[in-house]
């Protein structure tokens, strides 16, 4: 496989208490050109993440001292939006959903294929890189519509009624995808693909739920949306000016 990025290699933090698995993951990630840090304990990982920076966390769910879900939830609550790829020995859909609800970006059940693992790592980093590049320019950093102002870099927004909103990483990404092409129809599948990756969620209903959340935050009347419009059977359309 070829190296993912030509410039400074992204750092991946592997949080896995099994030494063999951790060593195998680290070796393969290094071979792909990533910088790798390894921690075998949930609480220590959280401490590390509070001080250091990395581009992706590969997080085992069952960890000594603090489980991976709690680590991720705590990170998100503290406003840390570093992407998280969960690794877990449980693979049923309910556990997947728990992981994603805790703020994870993707979820891989043990045992997994090395190829798939690397693809997912790359996909998360690519989505994240897209988000950051596109938020880097002054034009892409801030979105204004209907009295709302969204700061993509700080994951914060001020809504029409003056309330400051903390955006989750997914909310910000959905907003970003929609705002890239205002007025155009974006399908649910497109949103899933660009924000979560191909097969993470069991259904496109999740996208609908996120749109509902965005409407609650930014529409004067969430029941009569002017900016986040549903296109029946297809997806959504975002209007900067608002529907007359």
């Amino acid at each position: 496989m070829n190296a993912p990025l030509p410039h400074t290699p992204p750092t991946v933090l592997v949080v896995e208490d099994d030494p063999h698995l951790a060593a195998g993951l680290a070796e393969n990630l290094r071979a792909e050109g990533y910088r790798v840090e390894h921690i075998g304990d949930g609480r220590a990982a959280l401490e590390w993440l509070r001080k250091e920076h990395c581009e992706l966390v590969v997080l085992d769910v069952m960890l000594p001292n603090m489980d991976g879900l709690t680590v991720c939830r705590t990170l998100r609550a503290e406003g840390n939006n570093t992407p998280v790829l969960f690794l877990t020995a449980r693979g049923d859909p309910q556990d997947r959903i728990h992981g994603l609800e805790a703020g994870g970006d993707d979820y891989l059940a043990k045992p997994f294929h090395l190829h798939e693992f690397l693809l997912r790592v790359r996909a998360i980093l690519r989505r994240w890189e897209w988000y950051q590049t596109s938020s880097a320019s002054p034009a892409g950093a801030v979105l204004r519509f209907g009295g709302n102002e969204v700061d993509f870099r700080a994951f914060k927004a001020r809504s029409f009624n003056g309330v400051t909103q903390d955006l989750t990483e997914k909310e910000a990404m959905i907003l970003k995808v929609l705002a890239e092409k205002p007025g155009e129809i974006v399908s649910r599948e497109d949103l899933l693909e660009r924000v979560w990756g191909y097969d993470v969620f069991p259904s496109t209903r999740t996208v609908d739920n996120f749109i509902l959340r965005l409407r609650k935050r930014f529409e004067r009347d969430p029941a009569q949306p002017k900016h986040f419009l549903t296109v029946w059977g297809v997806g959504y359309r975002f209007l900067l000016e608002g529907e007359p």
Binding site: A23, G24, N28, P111, F112
Partner: protein
């Protein structure tokens, strides 16, 4: 879980139906008793009237008394006995009382049956739940070594590695396989113990040779990890237990001690035995990572693994000490654990009954 819910609902409906039925029955019997009493009163009144009519017709008083003995006859007049009404009331009360007691007994018996069935069902549901839990944990325990094995194999097939790198991957895979094999053995042991399917023999087992056997199996591994064994088991101490079970519990404790010492880069494991109050005690003491005294109870639970150093290459199954405790229980013995705290070593003490003289 579902069965219990269905049972609970059925039991509730049955109890309600029975209470209604019994209530109706008591009410019905009560009405019946009242009707019967009224009939008797009417009949008695007719007897009194008939006696009066006979007296009026000139029948001698003795004759009338013979025919209708319940009527009081004096001076040519027939009157109702004052006792009669009391008698009827007493009878009526007795009957109703009997019905109430019978119903209460019936309801009580019904309730007792239900309680017994409910208990049995609850116990069964708990067993099923535990089995599910066990299965989930077991599969969970397998997935990590499996994932590691798959990762190593795919790395080998995907990348061109130097011979030393290949060697290290192969060693890792062999270690993963050994881990899974150990896991299978222990799961089978613990399942058999759980179901009580082990027929533990009771015979005299010479402890010092059992200890020597087990220690011999681990000597090479101990040397590699800079761990020394020290044994102080006098010859001739005989415990009354199953020879295989004695080996298994000693082996599990020694493995546990090895795992506790290895992360510290070396240490000592001391096995010592003594006779005490008709029992024989074997203590396995190590200079390893130890545990917090608060965690003592947790140690022997199935799949409980205390915090371990992440740099250690040890993989506990969380079954070893569970097996030890269960086997000792079945053998009529005991096991206890003690540690002064993390990093301060640990001591496990096994106690078996002493072999009786005649079995030696």
């Amino acid at each position: 879980m579902k069965t219990t819910r269905v049972f609970q609902l059925t039991a509730l409906v049955l109890v309600v139906l029975s209470v209604v039925q019994v209530g109706w029955w008591v009410y019905d019997q009560h009405g019946d008793a009242l009707r019967k009493a009224q009939l008797q009163r009417d009949f008695y009144a007719q007897e009194v009237m008939a006696a009066q009519a006979l007296l009026d017709a000139g029948t001698p008083e003795e004759r009338v008394h013979e025919m209708l003995p319940r009527v009081i006859i004096s001076e040519g007049r027939a009157t109702a006995s004052p006792d009669f009404e009391r008698q009827i009331e007493r009878q009526q009360y007795k009957e109703i009382n009997q019905y109430v007691w019978e119903s209460a007994f019936f309801l009580l018996a019904l309730g007792a049956c239900m309680a017994v069935i409910a208990r049995a069902l609850r116990a069964e549901a708990r067993v099923l739940q535990e089995q599910d839990h066990f299965l989930a944990l077991v599969s969970h325990q397998f997935k990590t070594p499996l994932a590691s094995l798959q990762l190593s194999l795919e790395t080998l097939s995907m990348r061109s590695l130097s011979p030393p790198e290949q060697r290290s991957l192969i060693d890792r895979m062999l270690a993963d396989l050994a881990r899974m094999e150990a896991l299978v053995t222990r799961i089978l042991d613990s399942v058999r113990l759980e179901r009580g399917r082990v027929d533990l023999k009771r015979e005299a087992v010479e402890l010092s040779s059992a200890v020597a056997r087990v220690v011999g199996q681990f000597e090479e591994r101990a040397r590699k990890e800079h761990i020394t064994f020290s044994t102080d088991v006098p010859r001739g101490l005989e415990v009354f237990a199953d020879p295989l079970a004695v080996d298994v519990v000693i082996r599990n404790l020694v493995e546990n001690a090895l795992a506790a010492v290895a992360p510290l880069g070396g240490g000592t494991i001391t096995l010592a035995a003594r006779r005490l109050n008709g029992e024989i005690e074997l203590s396995v003491r190590d200079t390893g990572v130890g545990f917090r005294p608060d965690d003592t109870a947790q140690l022997f639970r199935k799949f409980s693994r205390l915090k371990r150093d992440s740099s250690s290459a040890y993989y506990g199954t969380g079954l070893g000490l569970f097996i030890v405790r269960r086997m000792m229980q079945l053998a009529g013995g005991r096991v206890s654990a003690h540690s002064d705290g993390e990093g301060r070593g640990a001591q496990f003490v096994l106690a078996w009954p002493m072999a009786p003289v005649e079995s030696r």
